[in-house]
Subunit: 368 residues, 2 copies
């Protein structure tokens, strides 16, 4: 670990590869001899257009995006996408299906009802968002404009390990929190969107992969803000207005790093190793640590756990002592409490090993 | 000028004070001993909450924001604000007035018609956006929900030198391109918004100052995307969802620097000196250089000019030779051509002096 750096298990914004940060640091005041910082560049300049083009090309290569899909780069995060999806994809239909398996899917569903009817194809709230029901239990409406799911729920630690099969209804995915952590089946989706602040950069930008039949504006509502128009964004190469240039540039550096280390299969392997190590420690603790999520639905990205069945005093002690071992940001989301370790790409395996070592010694000292 | 740096006259994103860039560079990998980059911090962390709180406090101090106004920090730039203004401020009324004095005001006006009726209180398009009509010529509707104006038009180089008096109708200003360049009368406005990528930071964030009677949601349309809701943003301290954390932090550094150098009156003085020098050179060139904008409406931020009445070959030569003197990004907006020098806060007086020196020698060599 670099001097003074800590292991940061934040659920997002989150740890980034040190190499990426150092490259950004080196280029801060004078980008590749251009005489200026990327922060200072006109988004129409030759230099910045090249940065944006390379980032898009690397997104297409790394994610194997079908060539007829549009790549969108947008501000406003997943929250604005919750609206944009409906405003651009509902078309002449009035309803859409939502697979709700956590708090983010719930928010996306709620937003739909501003513009149409968001139908609950499934909702695991009553079991505290700890499962993903089998397909046989989903109530899918063949007349729905689309089916929306959240591929990974950060608060609850629930992740789809497969692409949902919803027949011919367009499939929409919020992949904010597991984007760039494994290969994905872009072609099975009509739209994939993801805030980049987990596995691919700083906060302030979302990426979208859009099937061409939703890029021509034919399904766009008249009340859709111009900024949110998929057609406007797509037709203008995500530069209808000034993009989040510096954030886009940092994402570009992260993409280059991703290529260098081996692409999505590398991140997938790392994620499996890291989450396997942590879940193994939890499951091997004889109940001292517990993860509430059903095994088949467990997230490789966000691992929520309780200590001694939710002993708050002990959890506080755990968080305090963890910091002394340079293990930071391990508190659970304010809405659920407990602990949570997020294992995004920026978290090295050695950081998770340091965490599990600490967890074992903490358990030995506090089991009683 | 620092080694290898150039004078960058970009209309935005644009030059930033070197001191700000260097501070950001220093803190990139480990922010003040936190063990992490600001890019990696949870937006709910103690460290980041302190950064955001200090930025808001400095905005309030520097701009003398009335204490009951909300300070909003948002993504999506002015373009998304064009929609948000209408979605949050039209209320039970159906129409709003727009003073259109350039291309940005025109876009804002157009957006209004998605949700109501945007009325043209004035429109200088027929005279190519080179004037600001006197108040007597404005057609103001006392029943309008608000009056919108763009305080500075970057493409056309037109700037209001005063706060428009519109009586009791709420006044809304897009100050994207002259924000933080002079003291402003916040209390005379119901809402001021500004992308920060001109005088206050990198692209990817807008700041808003909102009068409390528009912060309670009472005038919000039901179709307003949650992300765009002034009430939701205000009630949650601009952290309903993950903000553009790093961009916000850089703005915070720029604000601290602004305080250090003397606040808005310092930037106003600098802007007057810089634009005075450049306009003086243009006006003293005996028509070799010409600025199409009426003197009383000339912008201190963006100075468009032609050479020999629009000699395109000579303008190209000018731009090419300027680069040899480290004078960059002087082409006019693609929609109007010619040349344009933008003189935001990040451009030092010596940069403008270097430009005017070059302009004089170029004139001497090419006057014939």
């Amino acid at each position: 670990m670099a001097d003074g750096r800590v292991y940061n298990f934040s659920a997002g914004p989150s740890a980034m590869p040190l190499e990426v940060l150092e490259e950004v640091q080196r280029e801060m005041v004078n980008y590749k001899g251009s005489g200026m910082s990327v922060m200072e560049m006109s988004h129409r300049s030759k230099e910045f257009m090249a940065i944006a083009a390379e980032a898009e090309k690397n997104l297409r290569d790394i994610f194997a995006v079908p060539s007829d899909y549009k790549v969108l780069m947008l501000q406003g995060g997943a929250t604005l996408q919750f609206s944009s999806v409906v405003l651009n994809m509902l078309g002449s239909k009035s309803k859409a299906d939502y697979l709700v398996t956590g708090q983010w899917g719930e928010k996306a569903h709620k937003e739909c009802n501003k513009y149409g009817t968001g139908q609950l194809a499934c909702n695991t709230k009553s079991s505290k968002f700890t499962t993903i029901p089998a397909k046989a239990e989903w109530k899918l409406d063949p007349e729905a404009a689309f089916v929306h799911y959240c591929a990974n729920e950060t608060v609850n630690g629930v992740e789809f390990s497969y692409t949902p099969d919803v027949g011919s209804v367009p499939l929409v995915a919020d992949m904010s929190s597991n984007f760039c952590s494994k290969p994905i089946e872009v072609g099975k989706h009509a739209y994939i969107y993801a805030g980049i602040q987990k596995n691919l950069g700083p906060a302030g930008m979302a990426v979208g992969f859009l099937r061409p039949d939703f890029a021509d504006g034919s399904k766009e509502m008249k009340i859709c803000p111009t900024y949110c128009s998929f057609k406007t964004t797509g037709d203008n190469g995500s530069m209808y207005n000034t993009p989040a240039c510096f954030t886009l540039y940092v994402m570009g550096e992260y993409l280059k790093y991703t290529k260098k280390v081996g692409g999505l299969s590398y991140w997938a392997e790392q994620s499996d190793k890291k989450s396997g190590l942590l879940y193994g420690t939890i499951d091997g603790s004889d109940g001292f640590y517990q993860c509430p999520v059903e095994k088949s639905a467990r997230s490789r990205m966000n691992v929520p756990f309780t200590i001694k069945g939710g002993d708050e005093a002990l959890e506080k002690k755990f968080l305090d002592e963890a910091k002394k071992h340079k293990l930071y940001t391990l508190a659970g989301h304010r809405s659920v409490g407990g602990c949570r370790a997020s294992l995004y790409n920026g978290m090295p395996l050695e950081g998770v090993a340091a965490l599990t070592d600490f967890m074992k010694s903490f358990m030995d000292e506090n089991r009683k």
